[in-house]
Symmetry: C2
Subunit: 428 residues, 2 copies
């Protein structure tokens, strides 16, 4: 059984590798043709997709899914229309492949070009969101990569139906003639042993992107011998410097915490400079409280809010390293810009942090000193996002420092290679 699974995933990976070698030089037109056909197929396949989705929903209770999880896996006509639209948006994006990133001549006459090429075969390991199936498939395809998708058992039927549409779109498109039918494959089992076997195929698969909860990501990172780009937790901080504009401070902290508290770039912690805490904190805290945010305060901020008569709770040490993903905010007072930077580097997750200040020098020191993927000055942490950066689409927000950091768009799904032209040069 175990060896059958190894054979199964090895076959999938070998077909993906073969497809990737052809797909890597496919034209932009052929790739877009497949994408636009997929969008049309999604539009014309609502009945089949919704029926498959219903099979997954029927098992949601047996799978012990929460209400939020059931909501994420549920498809309806509106969500399917938005899914098809997102495919058309990716078709409209520029093709990242083939761009000359750098070129130069050497004194011996060699001419070197560094060109962007697909990575090759990318494995995406995720949980129960059907839009991830389509997003990852189309972004990998547009960037010339073959994709192997492994979703959770909670959306197995929906994924199988979607994967069938993707394969049909490729077959009927200009890509089908190449042929790259195996450019997008779904692992047809959710057996954990198949996943483990897949994560060891480092001679065939070049990159693994896990998307999901911390448990899944940790399992993948610990098991995989293939390079992994992780999308981990965001313990994001807003720091109010001593000269922060009070109105801007209030607006930005409320936006960073409240606008969508369940996502990785929502603020989880507020730090306030001690010399401004008395004036700033009551105003910001009262705005947060009226938005239903629970404040967990250190001794200094608690004393200020108590004097102002604003409700709050005492923080425990773990609150200052927590990703609440909820209407909860840890609050503390710091003695200096340097203490704020040190606290964020120690307790944050190097994801997204922001300073509110009128002082460009303080902003510059904060942006240089805070060791995070995105460091903002006078803006909400919620802007760490591929769409907000203008990337058009994102496959996720990398918390790694190698290859891609922060929002990952199409160029980040590519590697590069060097093309060297000579006239008979030898090395001595």
């Amino acid at each position: 059984m175990q060896s059958d699974l190894v054979q199964l995933v090895t076959g999938i990976a070998q077909r993906a590798r073969a497809a990737s070698l052809v797909l890597s030089t496919a034209t932009t037109e052929a790739k877009n043709d497949a994408l636009l056909r997929l969008a049309d197929l999604i539009d014309s396949s609502h009945p089949g997709l919704l029926a498959a989705n219903q099979l997954d929903l029927d098992q949601a209770a047996a799978n012990h899914l929460t209400g939020a999880q059931i909501d994420r896996l549920t498809l309806d006509a509106g969500r399917l229309r938005r899914l098809a639209d997102s495919v058309r948006e990716v078709a409209a994006l520029p093709d990242p492949v083939g761009a000359v990133l750098e070129e130069w001549a050497r004194p011996n006459g060699l001419y070197i070009r560094k060109v962007r090429v697909p990575i090759g075969v990318i494995g995406v390991i995720y949980e129960a969101r059907p839009n991830v199936t389509v997003d990852c498939a189309i972004l990998c395809l547009k960037a010339g990569n073959a994709a192997i998708l492994r979703g959770g058992k909670e959306i197995f039927h929906t994924n199988t139906e979607l994967a069938g549409l993707i394969r049909r779109a490729i077959a009927e498109s200009a890509l089908g003639a190449l042929p790259v039918l195996d450019a997008v494959q779904l692992i047809p089992t959710t057996d954990r042993a198949a996943l483990t076997a897949l994560l060891k195929l480092d001679s065939l698969i070049h990159c693994i992107i896990p998307r999901g909860g911390e448990g899944l990501i940790r399992f993948v990172a610990e098991t995989s011998t293939i390079p992994v780009i992780k999308h981990f937790t965001g313990v994001c901080c807003m720091y109010l410097h001593k000269d922060a504009d009070p109105g801007m401070a209030e607006t930005l902290v409320v936006n960073a915490k409240v606008q969508r508290p369940g996502v990785c770039n929502a603020a989880e912690q507020l730090l306030v400079h001690s010399s401004a805490a008395e004036s700033l904190l009551p105003r910001v805290a009262s705005a947060l409280a009226s938005s239903g945010v629970e404040l967990r305060c250190d001794a200094a901020s608690s004393a200020i809010l108590a004097r102002a008569g604003i409700g709050h709770k005492p923080a425990v040490p773990a609150d200052f390293k927590a990703e609440f993903l909820d209407l909860v905010l840890a609050v503390r007072v710091v003695e200096s810009l340097e203490s704020a930077i040190a606290a964020i580097n120690r307790d944050g997750s190097a994801h997204t942090d922001a300073i509110v200040t009128r002082d460009p020098a303080a902003a510059g020191r904060f942006q240089a000193g805070v060791d995070s993927a995105v460091v903002l000055w006078n803006a909400s942490t919620r802007f760490n996002d591929g769409h907000e950066f203008g990337f058009g689409a994102e496959i996720g927000i990398s918390t790694d420092r190698l290859h891609a950091r922060g929002p990952m768009g199409l160029p980040e799904l590519c590697s590069y290679k060097y093309l060297v032209s000579g006239s008979g040069q030898t090395r001595s």
Copy 2:
């Protein structure tokens, strides 16, 4: 004992992380000051270094080292002078940190800058070459990274002496005042359990670079939960297209195979187009044979060489996937450009491959279709090298596709982050 080792390496990693946060904003002048002091210290410390090296040499027999291995670990006055020179060369290279890689404004007024920053903490795992200790330390330092070095037991005494000099150079330099004394640390034990523990510290160490034999690299890739940049084998191919200039073909193949056969960018395989094999192969083969190269031939090339009376051996299938690192070359005839590309993608190691042809279209198709880090046209495979690319120094040649591919210089030892400036923007 086990837990003592975990504590030991955790302490080292924590100190490295603290040092890296300071080092990341150190000035170019301060970093160069440390490098130049190190070069002077190496120059003035020959007696101590040679005495430590002698202790390692005394144990070489007990460690079962081969003659080549003993040669690699042996220091003498000339090698020490070249080591000091290489440190001065890195000091003279431009600082990669702080470069603005891209910048753009968003319609909402946000201004985004993508700037190059150090990766953070880099662990280098290697075997028995003392110059790796210095090379990796100085390249990491120049790029603003803290380095944790773990060399093999065969050079433990030499490494300990070199690490002492590096620490002294930092302490006496402008960096010492920051303080970043722990910017370069040597793991003071070669116990394998300490290495295993180190490779699990993914919250403190951001990148692992293994340098050495395949066994070491495989162990590191399988054990590490930290991202690894691998420097694997090179099964490099030279392909002679049907219109290759005979003189150039001879010169390039001999250079690629013979000039330094024991390195990863030496050619291991020769492919010749069938319609030119009769005319090209005898000339090239006889030049190789006079350089002492053993030719392992497929049936078609063997028949041609037999007719020409040139000595050779029959190849076994494994020869066409082998990294000989010796004066041995696998030879085969292919029916077309496409067969050459397919054979190289199937049997090569995606490291370095070259075509010899007068036809720009054939060269273009070969460079696009061959899925390797460096693909050359009319030049020797030996040019896949940081110095030959003009990088000034290299930490190795990456065989991975993520982050860095091919020669890794100072910029490849960096990550990036996004600095976003606003005026109170919120997300809706």
